[in-house]
Symmetry: C2
Subunit: 246 residues, 2 copies
């Protein structure tokens, strides 16, 4: 299996997230898998979608970012940092997005990776959505860590259901572009647990990645569940907001 | 009323979002309100949370971002761009976050504004959450625009409930830090509607901002709805995931 792990943490060397990454990568390599890492902080990755992403423009007078993406794909006029990420993205069998949870979402540097690399006409766009998305046939998995405990992130917990918090990523970024989305790995409150528990997190994460080709994906709705009016058929209601629990 | 509008669009001059902003600001000023704008693209705002955000460090050997935030607040060692945003944030009565919807969320440059400006010990942290959050007494409102139509973003629509998509912002960023969260203003598919409809969007948005001091906030749960185990009391179930429809 070919793994692309996109990693973002402001403490690049001594963080718990880094120890998760190092442990998992060692296990994957030992098992004969191929691994590429986009270490966004180490790369000083540019997160801001802008006109600088295109070497030439179809509409120079007014930036329409998605239309310029399509034009730049057709004419090979994307900036080099985007092309490099795109090559890794299409190379991989499984994309892992690994980050500490910042404000119920990913850190800005990783959001920028999605904004800039998920390109119109290749990853999404006309004819490219859900089961026909540009990344269909690939798997994706979020690995994150929290400040709060598991119980706080339950449907009846203080912070609400983690499935709802991650919906914009699981459904909006990953399912939307065609991935089979695996249940996330969440290390709950690593700064509040002991070393033994942190070791357990490392082992579990490695195991999750090693088993990822046989893991049952989360359930999301595909186009066939909706009518021509984009409304869900009565037979498939009620809607599933992903679903997963440890 | 004092309005802070944080604005992010890669086409800074000729976008529909810019026309929304210009129209609304003119109306607010004409009505005697005070307005400050953080125009993130024009400012070339730095979105990446990093060690560069602190002029001095409490723990130089290992970056713990939230702890350094607290230390830098106490010792006035925050980088100048963060301090400038913080001053505007605490000055305002209402925060407006205005952006085109990118991947069911905000563009990276605005996520970075939240990551860096919502500071531990001032905005969130010990004793600062929900009704006691650092921004309590203020109001907040999202203004966004979509590629898809209204009906697609309904609970039974192809793209799912917009309330769920925005939950990480409404609940995780705004309600969490103490704001009263107003229903969002969404301009549905501005590139697919005619000029008249775009004009309507501008008028409605301006009206929404002018009326924002009397608008009924969305309903979210406060600490009193939960027990000491952080679980919701039976009497307040089931949970509300925000709730709002045009």
């Amino acid at each position: 299996m070919k793994y692309l792990i996109v990693f973002a943490h402001p403490e690049n060397e001594h963080s718990f997230q880094r120890s998760l990454l190092d442990h998992a990568v060692a296990q994957l390599l030992a098992a004969g898998h191929e691994v590429k890492i986009s270490d966004l902080y180490a790369m000083d990755f540019e997160p801001v979608a802008s006109k600088n992403d295109f070497k030439a423009r179809r509409f120079p007078e007014r930036l329409q970012y998605d239309r310029e993406q399509k034009h730049a794909v057709q004419n090979e006029e994307l900036s080099a940092d985007i092309t490099a990420e795109l090559d890794k993205l299409f190379w991989c069998d499984i994309l892992v997005m690994q980050f500490p949870l910042y404000w119920f979402s990913m850190p800005a540097i990783m959001k920028g990776w999605v904004d800039r690399v998920f390109l119109n006409s290749l990853v999404y766009g006309a004819g490219l959505r859900f089961e026909t998305g540009g990344l269909k046939g690939k798997r994706a998995m979020v690995c994150t860590s929290t400040g709060g405990f598991d119980t706080m992130f339950s449907p009846d917990g203080l912070l609400g259901d983690m499935n709802v918090a991650l919906w914009h990523i699981h459904h909006g970024m990953l399912h939307y572009t065609g991935f089979d989305v695996l249940p996330p790995f969440v290390a709950w409150a690593p700064v509040r647990v002991d070393d033994e528990k942190c070791g357990e997190y490392r082992d579990t994460y490695s195991k999750r990645l090693l088993e990822s080709h046989t893991t049952q994906p989360m359930q999301f709705h595909d186009t066939a569940d909706f009518g021509k009016d984009f409304k869900m058929s009565d037979s498939v209601m009620p809607r599933t907001v992903g679903h997963w629990r440890d």
